[in-house]
């Protein structure tokens, strides 16, 4: 199935499995899976789309499989990238050596909306800025992976990685007997360990870690509460915290309790109305003062987003060479930046072959998939690019690998990507697996859940 050729060895037991499953059993299992998701309440709300805010994300039962040797390469590549991104952040908020060395133009950083003045000249605990790095990858050949983008702020979706596995183990225990699949359920413990390891120096006892959520109306609220529960930490909203003296406190039934590490699932702009957006009701007034004076740590650090910008993305291989002195293990997708004159010309001439993205866009919005678009759509996009070239980058459409996926007619290949979650604290940790997103319609390259993409369990075969 991969590249239309032979079925990889790892898929053999899955072949037997799905062939032994008659259609009615399959649809029974499918609805059982949906019920399991519904019962735990795992839902996905999409901003501004209206409809049912508690809609389920489609789950495809056919797992995606990585062999151990495939994973080993990914593992090394991801850790390398996460280390380089953090080194980059520590540098641009301090001495800016990479700029002085002429490897990255200064304006790409200082003029970047995600570059945070309030983060300059301050070292967060252990000098780590992005504690949870989500790296989106696609596969284009047997041993070839490309990084699509990095997520250094607060990548979401890890709850699906964990729940997909739970559901599969519950419904098809036999598969897990036949195959030796590396477990992912250590993630929560590693996340807590990572967060505790970056407590500020002023914290002299067991650190109190909390997750800060924008609240129940946020599309990822389920994930926030799920992770808090798995880690055994409080899930707080801004209103539960307050600043007094040198510290941040949470309001408990036993009175104020000091908080040491805040894993925030809130954008920079909203975390402190006294430093950023004054109209934010979601944040904690004075939080940045406590942070800067070393009374609390915020994960990820405000300003970490400057490393995952699509314009900075191009320079990540350069960062790896510059900070680590190593050759990049994972490749970038070749990218044309419309801000550059030559690239701009090339992009406009080849629109029908390219994928064009907004520099600051996310979630698959504001994007042109050239080969899948008609002429008028392409022309409309051309105008947008001409109006504001700096806002766009373009990439070739890759011949993405496809994974066997259940469809009405049985099994068919669908395009997939992968987001593993790398934890950076005292040590760098990575559970073997990640979230596989799948484009549910034939030929589609858009896997975003906000646009109807689904998810799969991701297997890494143990040695």
């Amino acid at each position: 199935m991969l590249n239309g050729a032979e079925v990889r060895a790892a898929y053999e037991s899955l072949e037997r499995w799905h062939k032994s499953m008659p259609d009615d059993l399959r649809s029974l299992k499918q609805s059982e899976a949906e019920n399991l998701f519904k019962r735990v309440g795992i839902t996905f709300a999409v901003y501004g789309e209206g409809g049912d805010p508690e809609r389920l994300i489609p789950f495809d039962m056919f797992p995606r499989v990585f062999t151990n040797s495939e994973w080993r390469k990914l593992d090394r590549g991801i850790r390398q990238r996460a280390a380089a991104l953090n080194a980059f952040l520590a540098d641009v908020y301090d001495r800016g050596e990479i700029i002085k060395a002429g490897r990255i133009p200064e304006h790409l950083i200082t003029k970047n909306a995600a570059f945070e003045k309030a983060a300059i000249g301050f070292r967060p605990p252990r000098n780590i800025y992005s504690h949870i790095v989500g790296i989106d990858l696609v596969r284009t050949g047997a041993d070839q992976f490309f990084v699509l983008e990095d997520n250094c702020r607060t990548p979401s979706g890890v709850s699906y990685m964990l729940q997909n596995r739970e559901v599969m183990m519950r419904m098809f225990p036999q598969l897990f007997v036949e195959n030796r699949i590396a477990p992912v359920d250590g993630y929560a413990r590693l996340l807590k360990k990572t967060l505790a390891s970056v407590a500020p120096l002023k914290c002299d006892s067991e650190p109190t870690v909390v997750i800060l959520t924008p609240g129940q109306f946020n599309s990822a609220y389920y994930e926030h509460s799920y992770l808090a529960d798995l880690m055994g930490v409080e899930l707080v909203e801004g209103q539960d915290l307050f600043v007094e003296g040198d510290f941040v406190w949470m309001k408990t039934t036993e009175g104020p309790k000091k908080v040491d590490v805040i894993y925030r699932r809130l954008d920079d702009d909203f975390i402190d109305p006294l430093c950023f957006r004054p109209d934010s009701m979601l944040g904690v007034p004075g939080l940045m003062s406590v942070y800067r004076s070393g009374g609390v740590n915020i994960c990820s650090c405000p300003g970490a987003g400057v490393a995952d910008d699509k314009a900075i993305y191009t320079y990540v291989p350069e960062m790896i060479r510059f900070y680590l002195g190593e050759a990049p293990i994972l490749e970038n997708v070749p990218t044309w930046q419309c801000a550059k004159n030559d690239d701009y010309k090339y992009v406009l001439e080849h629109l029908s072959e390219l994928v064009v993205k907004e520099v600051h866009g996310s979630g698959g919005y504001g994007m042109l998939v050239g080969p899948a678009s008609d002429k008028s759509t392409i022309e409309l996009f051309r105008q947008k690019i001409i109006e504001n070239p700096g806002n766009y980058i373009a990439q070739p459409t890759l011949s993405l690998s496809a994974c066997p996926t259940f469809v009405d007619a049985g099994i068919a290949p669908r395009h997939v990507d992968l987001r593993p979650y790398c934890l950076v604290g005292e040590t760098i940790e990575l559970v073997p697996g990640g979230l596989t997103r799948v484009a549910m319609t034939e030929g589609s390259l858009v896997v975003n859940s906000s646009q109807g993409g689904g998810v799969k369990d991701t297997w890494v075969l143990a040695e």
Binding site: A119, I120, E244, G245, F247, L274, R292, S293
Partner: protein, 272 residues
Amino acid sequence: MRLNVKHVTRYSFDTPARGLVQTHKLIPSTCGSQNILSWTVTTGDAIRGAAFRDSAGDMVETISVRGPVDELVIEVIGEVETVDLFGVLRNYRETVPPTTYLRRTRMIRPDTALRELSAAALEGLDGDSALNRAHALARAVNEAIEYVPGATEEMTTAAEALAGGKGVCQDHTHALIAVAHAADIPARYVAGYLHSGEDAMGEASHAWAELYVQGLGWVGFDASNRCCPDERYIRLCSGYDAQDAAPIRGIMNAGVKEHLDVSVAVMSQYQQ
């Protein structure tokens, strides 16, 4: 010149506030043009803490009051020795790369009129020095916006002030930052105090812009008074715009009406 500052801010609330948090940038830093001889900030019963020097060189401190609170008085008393450096910021410790101050906020976003004002002011000055170009921008803003108190509000943007043609020091400063940005010159908002004689525009609590001039570094321009800050000025703190540079930023629990009463006096004391 030796300047004495007394700056009293009094917040009073109709119904007692349940709690209150403020972030202050009320302590000036020493630099070439000013030497802080003494400076004290008192904040009544408020709990103080979380103090640090930010990347722009300003001292920041957060205060909080547990409710109920019906009044908060913040008193700043200080003495500063100043010299005239023609607006040039010298011997000042900060770590923000100047190009960071090309960031556009709502208050300083240049519209077409501001861009045209910028272009007109710089017309024919392509080969001129960076300093002269900055002066030309400050002059243009001074001519385009007349100093009229009460014509604008706290949230008036640079574009709105230019359209109305009237404003106070905040509007002049925002407009100057906007026209500088239009010419790709980093610029920022400075809040401070001014010992105003009879002819100076503005009150003792004052604001002006700093533009980054190649070769000189940051240089202050007071578009309201058509001059560069001299020994009558005390530089307090800076930011992207008035809001970012506000010496006092606060949040109160909802539903409380606040009254604000500010008095500032700056007196000079000539040395023997």
